[in-house]
Symmetry: C2
């Protein structure tokens, strides 16, 4: 049996190594590739994609898995978990007929391309026919993945295994209510003296911004011989094991963009770097889900990076030190501004509180889209209505509305909720961590992240894919995910900063 | 037939695209990869290497080629040439038994690794046993490539197709004689006032060095959207078609290193960028040989970069402008110093004249090694004797002698001569170019490279692999390669600078 298992591991390791090669070529596109190189690179990626698909769907893998799954197989618990996870991957790859893969990839490229044009021209009509086709393909895919499951759940499962729309609703319904309540309380409390996030927009030389990013990498404990930071238009993290790369963007008049994207991507990178080394290149050695990934990035970005006590250290010793233009703003004003709740139109610029509503809105709409309760034609109106209802903002054109994110148009439906799952998970992690590190904020007040980092490594990151997300949260906190932790965290923090 | 040909083209294009993906991952190792990433990257490259080998030796390719080679195939001349070139590639890949590929790659890695240690410890003995094994494998490989040919010719053919040791001897024997004569003439002429190359060693900030490199890229006409410059310990050029990348090194106290490696690698890049676009991804669309490649790099580095008339423009307007530390040296002194003939121990630091002797020495020795006329044990002595005889320098230890270059230890035998073939080719190109652009030096004197560049594109670079090297030289100059052109070029240039 161990021979079969070893063969299986070897095959899966090859798939993983090839996928990572492909990821490196993607990284290169977004960082250093000369612009005209895109056509040949696209061809390279498509050949590699085909090879990876062929290797990942090799019938031998299916045979090995069946043999390993026999009740008399003498596999240990870790090995069994690996086989289970590989089976999921193999099933996913093999269940989708290859003609669907081809049609899907092609349409997705076309629709994303059209989306750029539609967004540029503020014209949703331009994308309608292609998005309708894309949506049909997404449904076809969902059905192929699991004809027994509701389609939306089949899609969700790819990004957040073993979680259903019903689970998410259970989390999001109280969240929506709690967040709207908090916003109202905040708005009435700060009405006389509203904090102004726009004062953080200052022209800061890129060199100064880089100094801060460098400090953050060091603060987070990113090993220089296993990681790096580069620039990309849209920050992302890629790589794994001993080569994990983040990107950030240094915007001329938005220094907060580099600071908080470095913290965010740094959190993602820590997760990849600290998966269990002895299980690397097997499934258990990987990160488990997008939601857990987001929990780590948002822990660093929001729970740490926007914490008032941490800012007492970080602001004077790092931001003001490297960016002297901030000397005109004191730490209290900065803390109030960086945490200001400002309902806005664009998700990626949203604050820690209203962000959740942007995602909940998308979660509600995409379920209806998949269920056929909302047509593509109705999309802009529904979007705009919900934006006004949840956030009180009036969308003037679709570029600042339903066209703002690329996800749906590329076929990513069921992905958005993971952003907010990350918030729910990480506040529950924080509540548990406080029991072991009650003085965590005092530690941050001296610029010390080490114990917090080690707690995250031990309890979350080094678990790799041993547990599915809900089981992992239960293991960490002895309780399934519970939105109340996140609401408590927000209420406590906002009461402290703004005397709610 | 066209269907068979199209299938064949498609397969070969895939191999090419995958090889280029692999090249990009190599580029990343030498430029940006975090150091600890090397192990996983090595595994990735070895998987990719295996896939490329499998695809390149697919028996279908053999079948397609045979069909295309039938006399009644209705292929045009270009298609026939492609089939011929693909056949060479396919034969090379398939003739070497896969167990030899494995043993060769393994031993080559071990020997190169041992070489580093031996070089570090100044101890040739350390590498002897492994180099003996490597040498046997190189011979085995040569025999597998073509049992009919002398082994050295079989090896040569990989780097410089259709050229034999006898051809090279015909070029190198008069070259050696001519160069030694020129050195003697030079030495007696400058005896009273010897130029001093060491005055060019100045501490120059990297930022200033980068400005000069940037200027050179622009001067050469490297398109920003299809090329880039990065830093690497050992400069190299990689990529092809619309994504060609050079690297240079900015040494703290050797500003000439960045300047002349940018010119050299820039020359390589121009060749890759200007292969015929309509034949890209077929064999005809590729560069033809290492020797022709070197002719282009050395054209930019030496014929242009060290030309006294060009220096009248380049030195004050670029070097002195961006590196004010050079204001203490005037253009005549600079020209005399950069062209100074200084017999030295290390090939890569050699001047334009003595460089040839370094290579001829290696060519002579490696032929004897392969023929068994010289044993590995005798190598250091023979090396040192020849160095004293040809260059008058006394080698004190093997690190500055036979251990200085990695080529042999990694299995690269038959490669060195291509460096000097580049000199022979490009001076013959120059002689032809002068007929069309008689005022080429005056153009350089105003910083203008455009017409020279276009001549190189039209006559050399855009020929891709239509012609084998000797045929290409014949086509360009109506004459086979003839060493006299290079000797004339050197004699004329040195007479002009040093009043020989």
């Amino acid at each position: 049996m161990s021979e079969v298992y070893n063969e299986l591991s070897k095959q899966m390791k090859e798939v993983k190594l090839l996928s990572n090669s492909q990821a490196m070529l993607f990284w290169d596109i977004r960082t250093y590739m000369p612009s005209e190189g895109i056509e040949q690179r696209g061809q390279q990626l498509s050949i590699l994609g085909r090879i990876i698909h062929e290797k990942g769907t090799d019938p031998k893998i299916g045979t090995y898995i069946s043999q390993c799954l026999k009740p008399d197989s003498s596999l240990d618990e870790i090995q069994k978990r690996n086989v289970e996870l590989w089976k999921r991957e193999y099933d996913r790859e093999t269940k989708i007929p290859s003609d669907l893969v081809v049609r899907y990839t092609k349409q997705s490229t076309i629709t994303e391309h059209k989306w750029e044009e539609a967004k540029h021209k503020h014209n949703f009509e331009l994308i309608k026919p292609d998005f309708e086709k894309m949506l049909e393909l997404v449904k076809e895919r969902a059905h192929a993945l699991d004809p027994e499951k509701p389609m939306y759940d089949a899609l969700l499962d790819e990004y957040e295994p073993k979680i259903t729309a019903a689970d998410i609703n259970k989390f999001f319904i109280p969240l929506k209510e709690g967040v709207i309540k908090l916003i109202k309380k905040y708005q009435s409390s700060v009405a006389d003296n509203p904090p102004d996030a726009s004062i953080l927009r200052k022209k800061i030389p890129v060199e100064q911004q880089k100094q801060v990013s460098k400090w953050i990498m060091n603060f987070l404990g990113m090993p220089a011989n296993r990681s790096r930071v580069d620039q990309a238009e849209h920050p992302f993290t890629t790589g794994l094991a001993k080569d994990v790369r983040i990107t950030t963007h240094y915007l001329d008049e938005e220094p907060m963009a580099a600071i908080y994207s470095t913290l965010h991507e740094g959190g993602h990178a820590l997760y990849e770097l600290n998966t269990p080394e002895k299980h690397w290149w097997t499934a258990v050695g990987e990160t488990i889900s997008m939601g857990i990934h987001e929990s780590q990035s948002r822990f660093c970005e929001n729970i740490v990076g926007k914490n008032p006590t941490f800012l007492k250290y970080f602001y004077p010793n790092v931001i003001q030190k490297f960016m002297p233009a901030f000397n005109s703003i004191n730490v209290d004003t900065f803390t109030r501004s960086i945490n200001a709740i400002t309902p806005s139109k664009i998700r990626i610029y949203a604050d820690e509180v209203t962000y959740n509503l942007h995602v909940i809105l998308r979660f509600e709409i995409e379920q209806d889209l998949i269920a056929g309760k909302v047509s593509v034609a109705e999309l802009p109106n529904i979007w705009n209505e919900k934006m006004e209802k949840y956030l009180g903002v009036k969308i003037e054109n679709d570029t600042e509305g339903v066209l703002q994110d690329t996800h749906w148009y590329g076929g990513l439906i069921g992905y958005f909720p993971t952003y907010v799952l990350g918030n729910i998970y990480n506040s529950q992690m924080l509540a548990t961590m406080k029991k072991t590190i009650p003085d965590w904020e005092n530690q941050l007040a001296t610029g010390k992240f080490e114990n917090i980092r080690n707690w995250l490594i031990t309890n979350v990151q080094s678990m790799g894919s041993l547990y599915d997300p809900i089981d992992l949260i239960k293991k960490i906190s002895n309780e399934p995910p519970n939105t109340q932790y996140f609401l408590d965290y927000l209420n406590e923090k906002y009461s402290q900063i703004y005397d709610l």
